[in-house]
């Protein structure tokens, strides 16, 4: 039986993994939610949560730089094996539930946008099977496939934003502070939870050359994802405004649908289905893979692959639990709180632990 060996990955793979892990909800209803909380300042909220998550990731990188190893070994060193075990279980569950809810989100979005009459269970099974294959082929394949999908995402996004320029109304960005400073601050901080999957870089730290490589992955991956989210948020606001925008369930789909250049270039939403489905599947597979990776650590197993079909079935089953789309949104709100704990509380706790006792265990990886 083959033992698990961490793959060797480069900057491009790392960037694509961070990007895939942090940006999939841009094609779903994240923009509408931000709009309803922050109004015209929704784009500022997006900017804030990206900056916050970047800062937290740099804190984790600082700890890895000082103590060496990966995120899990840092946890072991700073808070002991028992607490570390609980932390790993917490992250594993979060990633698993996140994968399940994201899967359900994509299924519901597919029904709303592309396949109105299809049975949602059939779509769930097809998506679930795809995700299982992706996870089974391991992180390298997901990262490399991401490298291929990313340019199409970027070119497609830029194309839509350019083609929508006749609908732009600048005054829809005003007032700049939207619904006020307080909701902006709260949602700005809380929204960093959406970027929790960026943590995969430090969880898979042995796959990367050094801390500098990981830092570049964070900067470009989170930066690129923030730029995409910001672009969409601004274009969404410029095109629809707050009142109309809050009624749109799938902002990107609606924006692509609005495109009209001439008789032969109109309603270009259909070709984009190919791109966003691929992007979504990769994101779900990534979340599932990290959940499996952590489960392997928790159970102290030498191999990873046999867990993948098992947890894939579990993901599909969890994704079918919510009764409707409203319940999915509700559960996602709860999950976001847990993700916020994962991105703020645990890294800060580790930082405090480092300053209290970890300095003795210095072993710089550089």
């Amino acid at each position: 039986m083959k033992h698990y060996h961490p793959p060797n990955m480069g900057i491009m793979s790392g960037v694509s993994l961070v990007f895939i892990g942090t940006a999939p909800r841009v094609f779903l209803h994240q923009s509408t939610e931000q709009l309803s909380i922050n109004g015209e300042a929704a784009w500022l909220g997006v900017l804030m949560n990206s900056l916050c998550s970047l800062i937290m990731m740099l804190i984790v990188l600082f700890l890895i730089n000082k103590l060496g190893g990966d995120f899990l070994s840092v946890c072991n060193k700073l808070v002991g094996k028992r607490v570390s075990w609980i932390i790993q279980l917490f992250y594993s569950l979060i990633f698993l539930i996140s994968a399940a809810l994201l899967l359900r989100d994509y299924v519901e979005s597919t029904k709303l946008s592309a396949l109105h009459d299809a049975n949602y269970q059939l779509i769930t099974l097809v998506y679930g099977f795809t995700v299982m294959i992706a996870a089974y082929l391991r992180i390298e394949a997901i990262a490399r496939a991401g490298c291929f999908v990313l340019p199409f995402i970027l070119v497609g996004s830029i194309l839509v934003t350019i083609l929508l320029y006749p609908f732009y109304q600048i005054y829809q960005l005003l007032p700049l502070l939207g619904n006020g400073f307080k909701p902006l601050l709260i949602s700005g901080f809380r929204g960093a939870g959406y970027n929790l999957l960026a943590l995969l870089i430090v969880i898979l730290a042995p796959s990367y050359q050094n801390v500098r490589t990981m830092k570049v992955c964070f900067l470009w991956g989170l930066g690129g994802s923030a730029a995409l989210k910001l672009l969409y948020m601004l274009v969404f606001l410029l095109t629809f405004g707050v009142e109309v925008g809050m009624e749109k369930i799938l902002p990107f789909f609606e924006m692509a649908r609005l495109v009209f250049v001439n008789h032969y270039l109109q309603r270009i939403e259909a070709p984009f289905i190919i791109i966003w489905v691929m992007f979504g599947m990769l994101a779900i597979a990534l979340s599932l893979y990290i959940a499996v990776y952590l489960a392997r650590h928790i159970l102290n197993l030498t191999i990873l692959r046999p867990l993948i079909p098992l947890l894939s079935v579990l993901t599909i089953a969890i994704s079918m639990l919510p009764e409707n789309f409203d319940q999915v949104t509700k559960y996602e709100g709860l999950l976001l709180n847990a993700e916020a704990i994962g991105i703020y509380l645990i890294p800060l706790m580790l930082l405090v632990a480092y300053f209290i006792k970890g300095k003795d265990e210095k072993c710089s990886s550089e």
Binding site: E140, A141, A143, H263, M278
Partner: protein, 624 residues
């Protein structure tokens, strides 16, 4: 009365024969019986031991007869008061050597009843002839020629030539081996131990001559067209390379035709193929290492690489894989590819298979490895990437802007060949809003009287197209393409007239078929066609979502693949440093580095400024 009885009996017999069924007097039909290998395995070794002992006794008996004959000759010579001539001494020495071979321990080790390939060459010509008869199942098996003759030295020496008719050049054997040996005028003693060396040096004018001492090498030699010279009294034989079987001459490429560039293709003869590569790559460190493949086919495979460029680990890995093959029959390079490739079950090729020496030479110069096989006109090149399969040798012969344009066109074609039927099916069935209203109406009107869903239409026509393509390949001579075209036109018209499929589906399938032939690698083209069926089926289930899911799985599988340890989708995923030669091709002077993914020993192909003349002033120009 007796007569009456006989008559009645005859009449009864006649009617009996006429009425009753008589089984025809035919032999029993042949029925292949089950193999009794298992039963044999269960048997004790007793009968085999008896056979072995019998063979040992026979060998000893033959030796005894020979010894008796020799003693009689010696006695007769002594009685006549003559001097013992060198012939008798030579015979005596030969007998001495044979006696050593006949020691019980040695006879027991080399089981004479089941002659192994390591069986040593005997000092006795007769014994060697017997061993060869057993190995080649003579006289039932024809083709082996055993030609005894005498070398007229002093004393005369008995010899025997053995070769395979048809594999060796008879004229060459007569001129280079038989004639010089039969007209030898040497006064030196042939009984001396260095006689073999001397004959090889002085009497056989051939560059590839060597000594062999066991029947493994001898069999290999005979089976590959060499002639074997056995000499009486010597426990070694001489192997002379006299390959000369009939073969196709060096011809133009059939499957990789180009307008520009070299117009030479490989043939079936290994030596010719290696020489074609060497003629294009005249580097002294161009290595070619031989491996014998197949315990029964015994064909030679050659691994070629440039020692100063190719990565040693890569070379070692390719050799390791080839050495590890255990099979009895392996006759084609494509079969070899299945034995050593990373993903033999994938439809996507992990080695390039080419019939062009220039293609192989350019790949060798990049640090890749070529694998040639005797009898195969296709040479394997490894490792490769998906992107290198989309390159055509002609790309390097044309002006860069045009070759880049053609490459981009090729990529568009591969996307069309893979996706067009699936996308058409999705859009026409699930996402009609994506097409302009006029086109949607046109499609709808064209399909008005068609009784089948679009998926069945596409499937029917796609299958018909594949059938025509396959039939065109199988029908001999010029009839093939003619029937393909005529069949296509007639079938297309008839199928539209019969309202079985709509004209627009014919356009879709024809475009798809045409674009699939633009892909330079035949096996990649086949893989794309296969994937097209899968994508079309997924599109029939879930529209563009199905296409998307199929594409993603395909992409993931391709990204997971490796060709001899290098990622299949490099240099894009993973991103590696590469010259201007992935999709857009750059001019020759811009190809400064070898592909990074090959981890070549020498990464630099040429300096940053390879066109030195741009820095030099033209002759006669004023420097000031």
């Amino acid at each position: 009365m007796i007569l009456d009885n006989k008559l009645i009996t005859k009449i009864i017999s006649f009617f009996k024969k006429l009425i009753l069924y008589q089984e025809p007097a035919l032999p029993d039909r042949f029925v292949l019986q089950e193999n009794d290998c298992d039963a044999k395995a269960l048997d004790s070794g007793f009968p085999q031991q008896i056979t072995q002992t019998l063979e040992e006794l026979n060998t000893l008996l033959r030796y005894a007869y020979r010894l008796e004959h020799h003693l009689e000759t010696v006695v007769a010579t002594l009685r006549q008061g003559k001097r013992v001539d060198p012939q008798i001494i030579q015979e005596y020495q030969s007998l001495q050597k044979q006696q050593r071979e006949n020691e019980p321990l040695q006879l027991g080790y080399y089981d004479n009843s089941h002659i192994s390939k390591d069986y040593p060459v005997s000092a006795s010509l007769k014994e060697n002839a017997i061993v060869l008869s057993k190995l080649y199942h003579l006289p039932q098996n024809t083709g082996i020629v055993m030609r005894p003759f005498t070398i007229p030295e002093t004393p005369s020496l008995k010899a025997m030539l053995v070769y395979m008719e048809g594999l060796s050049d008879k004229k060459y054997i007569t001129t280079v081996v038989l004639k010089p040996l039969m007209t030898i005028q040497s006064q030196k003693s042939t009984s001396s131990d260095d006689a073999i060396e001397r004959i090889m040096k002085e009497n056989i004018p051939n560059g590839k001559t060597k000594k062999t001492s066991n029947f493994r090498d001898i069999q290999q030699g005979i089976n590959s067209g060499s002639v074997i010279l056995f000499l009486e009294g010597f426990t070694e034989a001489i192997q002379v390379d006299t390959k000369g079987w009939e073969h196709r001459n060096v011809d133009r490429p059939v499957f990789e035709q180009t307008v520009r560039g070299p117009q030479v293709a490989f043939g079936e003869v290994l030596a010719v193929n290696t020489s074609l590569i060497r003629s294009l790559c005249r580097s002294s460190d161009l290595m070619s290492e031989e491996f014998l493949l197949g315990s029964r086919s015994q064909l030679t495979a050659v691994v070629m690489y440039i020692e100063s460029i190719a990565n040693p680990s890569l070379v070692a890995e390719v050799k390791r894989r080839i050495k590890s093959i255990q099979t009895d029959f392996l006759v084609d390079s494509d079969v070899l590819q299945q034995m050593i490739g990373d993903h033999p079950n994938s439809p996507f090729p992990t080695t390039a298979s080419t019939e062009r020496p220039d293609h192989v030479a350019s790949n060798l110069s990049e640090g890749r490895i070529a694998i040639l096989m005797d009898g195969s006109p296709f040479v394997l090149v490894a490792p490769i990437t998906f992107f290198s399969l989309m390159h055509s040798p002609e790309d390097y012969s044309m002006q860069t802007p045009y070759s880049s344009f053609i490459r981009v066109l090729r990529w568009i074609c591969i996307i069309i060949a893979l996706m067009l039927p699936a996308v058409f099916l999705s859009i026409s069935t699930f996402h009609q809003e994506a097409i302009p209203t006029d086109l949607a109406l046109a499609i709808s009107v064209a399909r008005d009287q068609v009784p089948f869903p679009t998926f069945i239409e596409i499937l029917l026509l796609d299958m018909a197209f594949e059938l025509l393509r396959e039939a065109g390949l199988r029908i001999p001579g010029i009839l093939g393409p003619t029937i393909g075209i005529v069949g296509g036109i007639i079938l297309g018209q008839a199928i539209v007239a019969a309202k079985i499929v709509s004209p627009i589906v014919i356009i879709v399938i024809a475009t798809t078929g045409l674009t699939s032939f633009v892909i330079p690698d035949y096996r990649l083209s086949a893989a794309i066609r296969l994937m097209r069926f899968l994508l079309t089926t997924l599109a029939a289930i879930l529209g563009l979502v199905g296409v998307s899911v199929g594409l993603l799985i395909l992409l993931l599988v391709l990204c997971n693949m490796k060709s001899y340890g290098i990622p299949y989708m490099a240099p894009l995923a993973p991103k590696t440093i590469t010259g201007l030669d992935v999709v857009i091709g750059g001019p020759a002077y811009r190809q400064e580095r070898r592909p990074d993914v090959l981890q070549a020993k020498d990464v630099t192909r040429q300096p940053h400024i390879s066109r030195g003349w741009i820095e030099e002033p033209p002759e006669g120009s004023d420097q000031s």
